[in-house]
Subunit: 358 residues, 2 copies
C-alpha cells in the first residue's frame, strides 16, 4: 500500500546498556552486540528489518566514539549516512538532525525512527505496521507505533489511544502520552485495553517533525536546520542545543493538539534492557538458555541464562534461575530476579577505579 520511495529509516544508536555489563561496555555498547544469537548485532538487525522499506535511504545517528564501529558493521551504508554526534544531546536533537538532513534531500520525505537496540523477531509484521504508519504520516500526522502490552510493565511510558482514524485500516487517534505508571495504574491501563506501550517508534514527515519542533522549541529546530544546510557547522552549533527527549519536545504537545496517530504494533517487541529480557529471547529447552556456543556450557540440574563469550568452559551445577555472563576479562553471576540491578556492579567497579572494565 502506497509509495515507499519517500520513506527514510532513521536509527538513533545510543545508550551504553549498563545493565548488560560485562557484555556491553562503554566502548562496545549494547547496539553493537549480538544479543539474539543471530550472528548479527542489534544495529545490523535493525537496519536489515528496515531495508525492504527504505532500501538505501537510511541514516544512523550515533556518538563520535562509536561512529567507526557503526560504519564497520554497516558496510552497505555510505559513510556520510552515519551522523556522529559530538556529544549526547538526547533523542530530539539526534532524530531532529536526521530529519533536517533528510528534509533537504527530499522535502516530501517521511522518516521512521527506530532505536538500534530493540528486538522485533517478526520483521514482516513490523514492516506492515510501518507501511501503514507511512501512509498516515504522509497525510500530515506524527505517528507512533504502539506496542500491545503483554503485562502491566512499569518500565515503559504508555500511549492512550482514541477513536479509529479513517480511512486507515488500523490507525487510531492518540489521545495522550503518559509517563511510566506505578504497578496499580499499569494494571488499570492493561485492563482498559486502550493503552499501548510507547516504544519510541515514530513515523512522520521530516518537515512536519521540524515544523512541530519549530512551534515549541524554535531554537532547536533552527539549529538543526542550520547544521543540515552546512554540515561543517555541526561542532559549532551542536553543543549549544538543548537536551530534551522527543516525547517531551514534540510527541506530548502534538498529541494534546490532536496531531498524533497510533498504529497498533501487532508484533513482539523487546528492548533487551537486562539479562532477564535477553533470556526471554533465547531458545528454552527447560535447562539453561545459552547465548553463544552451546558446547562451551555444561549445565547439570541448572536453569537460567548463560552467556559464554570468554572462550572458556562454563559449568553450572545445581543452580536455579542464575545469570552467568563470561567475558575475557570479567565474569558476572547474578539471578534473573536481580538482573535489572547490574548497574550497581558497574557503579562499584567505577568506585574501585576499575574504568578499564567499564
Amino acid at each position: 500500500m502506497g509509495d515507499l520511495a519517500v520513506f527514510w529509516a532513521v536509527v538513533p544508536a545510543g545508550g551504553a546498556g549498563t545493565r548488560l555489563w560485562p557484555l556491553s561496555r562503554a566502548g562496545h555498547p549494547k547496539f553493537l552486540l549480538d544479543l539474539t544469537g543471530s550472528g548479527r548485532s542489534l544495529l545490523q538487525e535493525t537496519l536489515e528489518r528496515l531495508a525492504p522499506l527504505s532500501a538505501e535511504r537510511a541514516l544512523v545517528v550515533t556518538g563520535e566514539a562509536h561512529a567507526d564501529a557503526v560504519r564497520d558493521q554497516l558496510p552497505g551504508l555510505a559513510g556520510d549516512r552515519v551522523l556522529a554526534e559530538p556529544e549526547p544531546r538526547d533523542s530530539m536533537a539526534a532524530i531532529g538532525l536526521a530529519a533536517a538532513v533528510v528534509e533537504r534531500e527530499d522535502p516530501e520525505a517521511v522518516i521512521g525512527s527506530f532505536a538500534a537496540d530493540h528486538v522485533i523477531p517478526d520483521a514482516e509484521a513490523f514492516q506492515a505496521a510501518v507501511r501503514e504508519a507511512v501512509e498516515v504520516a504522509r497525510a500530515g500526522r506524527l505517528v507512533t507505533l504502539g506496542v500491545e502490552p503483554t503485562h502491566p510493565a512499569t518500565g515503559f511510558g504508555y500511549i492512550r489511544a482514541g477513536e479509529p482514524l479513517e480511512p486507515f485500516p488500523t490507525a487510531l487517534r492518540a489521545v495522550e502520552f503518559v509517563e511510566k505508571p506505578d504497578a496499580e495504574r499499569a494494571r488499570a491501563y492493561l485492563g482498559s485495553g486502550r493503552y499501548r506501550w510507547n516504544a519510541g517508534m515514530f513515523v512522520v514527515r521530516a518537515s512536519v517533525l521540524l515544523d512541530l519542533l519549530q512551534r515549541w522549541h524554535p531554537e532547536l529546530a533552527d539549529g538543526l536546520r542550520a547544521i543540515a544546510a552546512d554540515r561543517s557547522r555541526l561542532a559549532e552549533i551542536w553543543p549549544g542545543l538543548p537536551r530534551i527527549a522527543i516525547d517531551h519536545a514534540v510527541a506530548e504537545p502534538a498529541a494534546a493538539a490532536g496531531h498524533v496517530a497510533v498504529v497498533p504494533a501487532a508484533f513482539r517487541w523487546e528492548d533487551v534492557g537486562d539479562f532477564r529480557s535477553l533470556g526471554r529471547l533465547l531458545p528454552d529447552d527447560g535447562g539453561v538458555r545459552v547465548l553463544g556456543a552451546a558446547p562451551d556450557v555444561v549445565a547439570l540440574d541448572a536453569t537460567g541464562v548463560v552467556v559464554p563469550s570468554g572462550g572458556r568452559q562454563v559449568a553450572l551445577l545445581g543452580v536455579e534461575d542464575l545469570v552467568v555472563v563470561d567475558t575475557p576479562d570479567a565474569v558476572l553471576v547474578t539471578t534473573r530476579e536481580r538482573a535489572q540491578e547490574v548497574k550497581a556492579v558497574v557503579d562499584a567497579l567505577r568506585a574501585a577505579g576499575r574504568e578499564d572494565l567499564l
Copy 2:
C-alpha cells in the same frame, strides 16, 4: 618428651581432588594447590608442619606424573626423598614402601604418615599429638591420631577408643576401626563420646609396620623390602603388588589383635574435600569468602565462596551460598550445598571429550 631423632615424616601425595575442579586438575592435583590462601600448597604446609619433628628426615610418595612438581615445590628435600610410584597401588604400598626405605636407613625408625592434602591450622597442637604418638610407637604399637568429631559425619571412618594406655598422658587403646557409618550410627558415635574420626594419620615403627604386614600380606611386605634393598627393582616389582588400603591391610587386623593405640587429636582437621569445606577455612566477614586476590571480586548482597584464579574480575550480585571458581580456561558455578557433586561436571566433560579441561 622423648627423642625425636628416630622420627621420619612420610607424606603420601596422591588423589586428584576431582571435587575441586576446575581448580584441581589431573595434572595439577589438590595437594599442589594453595587452598588456604597461605601462599603455600597443601603439600608444602604438610612438610612445614612436620619439619620441627622430622628435620630432614622426610619422604614423599607420589605418582610419577607429579614427582617433578613435588620436587619443585620442596627444594629443601633431597631428590631421592621423593619416591615415585610407577602406578597407583593404594595406600598400603605407598606407605609401606616409605617404611621399607626408612627401615634400611634406621632399623629403630618411627614413621608418621600424613596425607599431603589435609589442613591442620594449629601446628603446635598437631606436633604435641605426634610427639606423644612417637613415644607410644617406640613402645611397639601402631598408633593412630583420632580426630575429635565435631558433627555426625558420614564421610569418614571412625575409631572406637577403649581404656587409657599407661603411662602415656592421653593415649587410649584402639578397640576397632569402623567403616563410614550411616547418619543414624554417626549420631550414635558422636553421642557416645568414644568414637573418633580416622583421619589416616598413622605413627609406627617402620619395622613394626612391615612385620604386621608380613603377618597378613607377606607378598606385599616381601616386595616392598626387596625394592628398598635394591631401588632399581621398583619398576619390576611394583606392578605386581596388591592394591589395598593401609586400614584394611594392617590397621583393622592389628586393632583386633590389640596392637593399636589412639592418641586424641585435639586440633582442627579438614580434608578440604570440596569447595564447601574449603570455604570453612577462609575468613568470614559475612559476605563472600574469597580464596585469592580480594580486589578481583566484587560482591553485592552476596554470600558464598569465590575463587578468582583466572586473573579476571568476578562480580556477584544478589546470590546466596554460591560457589564460583574462576580459572583461565573454565569457570564453575554451583552452590555450597551441591559442591560435593562437582565430580558430575568432570564426568560430563569427559563424556564430551574435553580431556583438555580435566
